[in-house]
Amino acid sequence: QDTVNLRMTIWSANEAHLAMFNEIAAAYQAENPNVTVTFDSLPFDTYTTTLTTQIAGGNPPDLAWILETTAADFVNSGALAPLRESFAAAEGYELDDVTEQATALWSSDGELYAYPFSTSPFAIFANNDLITEAGQQTPAELIAAGEWNWDNAIAIAAAVADAGHDGLIVRDFNYQIWQNLASIWRGWGASPWSEDGDTCTFADQPMVDAMSFIHNAIFETGAMPGPGESVDFFAGDAAMTITQISRASLLPQGDDAFDWDLVPLPAGPAGEYAVIGQAGIGVFANGANPEVATDFLAFMTNPENSRKLAQFFPPARASLLTAETLGLTNPLLSPEQLESVVIAGITNGVVLPGHEGFAQIQQTVRAELDALWTPDADVEAVLASVCDRIGSLL
């Protein structure tokens, strides 16, 4: 039997991650002595670029991590090998355990092209010290009172900002990664384009309202830091931040520690909602050994290994979505936090927006939206021009 070397590109270079992957690979190799697996860590910032270069050069990896934003590109291009059949055939795989919610993004015409190994909900971290200091109710108190909505949340942020600190930070947004704003605008029921991805809905009323709300928070009440201002919630000088739960590891300890909390996203005018980020693993159809790679992927994501992956990556399998399982690997979070934020989030969450040709759309929208991030911007006009520019790309 020929030896097969599988290569999988990932964007993590973290030791613990690699140790776990290698452990899984070793286990696979024990069963299939002719197969070896190597994991290539590419820098996150240039991940897709590098991957693309490899593909263009005719050297695609066998397997690759894929970001939610580029999911559509990969899924629809025909570059990825179909997975459903192999998964179904794999013993004890229990494909049904993987929520449809989670696989939607990675499927096309009923076929699955990548396995969503990480589904990470967006939530709010709050600095209760600063909030109480500013004489505000903490989010937990508001939740308890059933008043955890955007109006109140932004009021807290504004009050803390008035007290000389910073209010609410949408982490990693930086006035560039605008898709992260989905964690807010979903509360208005807004989305950048229609479900089928063909129509621009930036200029629709929900989006206009949501963006006006954000604009107001930035430039009127100062509840959100303005463009060109870098503030780090975890340094302890901001009231709240929207980010994924994995950031809990950044919470300062010891002297710099503060009283923090993790709460779900507040309700918007359109009601309660959740947003998740996702990453999938796909197999390249043009790789040297797509069958072996698919088989390995089936092994890697079987129930047993999924439990291992869940140490770091919130799982897509319903059976693993228990506070108990998650608590083992997220010791910082309380069972309530896990329940309300993680489990609820993964179960109900909408994935960040993605689209075929997303990079180009992202860039075009980013450039157009820059006009929005000035005090006297005309929100409606800017959003209309966004649609004008991306219409042809959708």
Binding site: S12, A13, N14, A16, L42, G57, A235, S249, F312
Partner: protein
């Protein structure tokens, strides 16, 4: 060499230089000091010029998180190979263009100069395809071969040519009479005398290879083959967030040896360029 300045002018010059230094030195200072700060303090505002606490464990972490010693070695030996190769082949070509009459010399020189004009982003895809077909992806070959023979060496060839043009021709004639052939003349007379120019070429080439960013990312995929600039991006926590202090510790370690080499070599280096006159 200039004549001495008047004391008043001296003070003025020192003052001006110190002010100008701020934007040059502050970022490096920040890099070094931040490497021993806890992450939460790195982006604190206003920044601490002197860190409040020193945590040198980041330097140890650099080696734990990545095969940093290996990566250091990779960068070092690649840069050394590139430097030596460039010094050899560029001085050969520079010598020929400066000293040997052969038909088509001018045209060929123009062709070589073309290499100076092409950004590496432009040719990276075809180069990737070529190296793939030679089975050299995820090896260090592309990082060695392209700089030695491709665009980056052209500047070196140019500098060497200018230097050799200025070298007294009698020395070579003496060597011919003394019984040497072309190659021996080049090797025993021209090259030893080109030491200053070679020093300049060496520093430029070494720096270029040492700082190469795009190419390693494209050509290399396993961490134990990474080079330093690429390795710098790899210090992340369990969730992909940058470990700034560790990354900056690694960055400091990357910059320091080169600075030391520069301090040692700068006199040779400046003189070397002075000798070439670097006339276009």
């Amino acid at each position: 060499m200039k004549t001495e300045l008047a004391p008043r002018t001296k003070v003025l010059v020192y003052g001006l230089m110190c002010v100008l230094l701020i934007p040059f030195v502050f970022p490096t200072w920040w890099m070094v000091t931040s490497s021993v700060k806890p992450i939460s303090q790195i982006f604190a505002f206003p920044p601490d010029i002197i860190p409040r606490s020193f945590d040198f464990t980041t330097y140890g972490r650099v080696f734990e998180l990545q095969p940093f010693a290996q990566q250091y070695w990779n960068s070092a030996y690649i840069a050394a190979l590139v430097t030596i190769g460039t010094m050899l082949f560029s001085s050969m070509a520079g010598y020929a263009f400066a000293r040997i009459r052969f038909p088509g010399a001018n045209l060929l020189f123009m062709v070589v100069l073309l290499g100076l004009l092409i950004p590496s982003e432009v040719t990276i895809v075809p180069l990737f395809q070529m190296f793939l077909s030679w089975g050299m992806i995820n090896t260090h070959w592309p990082l060695v071969l392209v700089p030695i023979f491709g665009a980056p060496s052209v500047f070196a060839t140019f500098v060497m040519r200018q230097f050799f043009i200025a070298l007294p021709v009698e020395l070579e004639e003496a060597a011919r009479v003394d019984g040497l052939g072309r190659f021996k003349i080049f090797w025993t007379i021209a090259l030893p005398l080109a030491r200053p120019a070679l020093a300049a070429v060496a520093i430029f080439t070494f720096l270029h290879s040492w700082n190469l960013y795009l190419e390693p990312i494209v050509f290399l995929s396993s961490p134990d083959r990474f080079t330093l600039p690429q390795a710098l991006t790899q210090f992340t926590d369990a969730y992909g967030g940058a470990l700034w202090n560790v990354q900056l510790a690694a960055a400091s370690m990357t910059a320091l040896p080169v600075l030391i080499v520069f301090i040692i070599a700068q006199k040779q280096f400046v003189e070397g360029l002075a000798h070439t006159g670097l006339k276009g």
